[in-house]
Symmetry: C2
Subunit: 201 residues, 2 copies
Amino acid sequence: MSGPSTHEDWSDAQEEIMQATYHALLDHGYAGLSISRIADELDKSKASIYYHYDSKDDLLLTFLRYAVDQFLSSIDTETGGDPYEDLEHVIEKVLPLRLDEDEDQIHSVVFGLRGQAVTDETFREQFTEIDDRLAETLRTVIQRGIDDGRFRDVDVDRVTEHVVATINGAMYGRVTTDRSATVPAVRVSLLSYLDAELRRE
Amino acid sequence: MSGPSTHEDWSDAQEEIMQATYHALLDHGYAGLSISRIADELDKSKASIYYHYDSKDDLLLTFLRYAVDQFLSSIDTETGGDPYEDLEHVIEKVLPLRLDEDEDQIHSVVFGLRGQAVTDETFREQFTEIDDRLAETLRTVIQRGIDDGRFRDVDVDRVTEHVVATINGAMYGRVTTDRSATVPAVRVSLLSYLDAELRRE
């Protein structure tokens, strides 16, 4: 949760609250998270947090967008070489074969909250932005490959949407089922898909 | 919610309760669903339902497994011809371009409940069975295509897992974001993927 600058503009005050939320979430989980505990992490008053966010859910949704943005911004800085290897790199980062304890905690919070997007428009807007952000990272690499002449001139949006759906389905399957074969299989099959779709003969 | 026999064995009493749950869910939604209302649909006592199910969630999870099993069993009876066309048919059925009002209601319930599988082992077991059931439908068609010599001798599980993940990601994206391009894009890209992976030159 530190390193390269993110894609969106986050103020210093926001960044501080986001970092405190991250640590409070790892220490106490979603159920145990409260504005008080985040304030304790920050050594500030609850009012200073309520100044920026209306509720715990408002703060958490912003945190999710922040975490995804920071994670993908960090990946973006690692790409720029061979576009096929860049796509491999993005997929390895987004779909690690194993989640460590912290990642597992964060994934659980993300997918637990995402269930609420089914009925809540505010949640849906945030998850729309989150998926848009992942699509942007993928689209940028694919478009560069086409511009370089290394990839075929495919429908970039179609390929991007496929990869976003497959990644989301695999991540979602990992946290909502006991089907452990999905992520390893998808890691291989996505590269096979991208190879067939994108690479010139 | 009627038609061909399902893959699992469901007793007549269970089937009756499942049909009543389906109608109660369409009439009242998840929030308004109660054992009383299901009993009303059935013209039976609440006790006769509690005899089979411990709680509303227990009943709903069984209903989801029933609905998925019945839906896929019905699709299974429609396949058996050209395996590539069969896969096209499964994908069209599972990922319709538009959901009617009833389908939208059921999808919302499925994905709303699935969020609870993140933290609840009982829910996770049910969604494991649900994804296993979809995988089985796909695997059967792919394996038949290989046995017939129409498909290449691929790793069936790998291809199946890819399709399950992509379908789930697309369905999930549809109910948790406003990104309307995903399902149409995935419908095309999945067939392109299957064509490249499976079809002999």
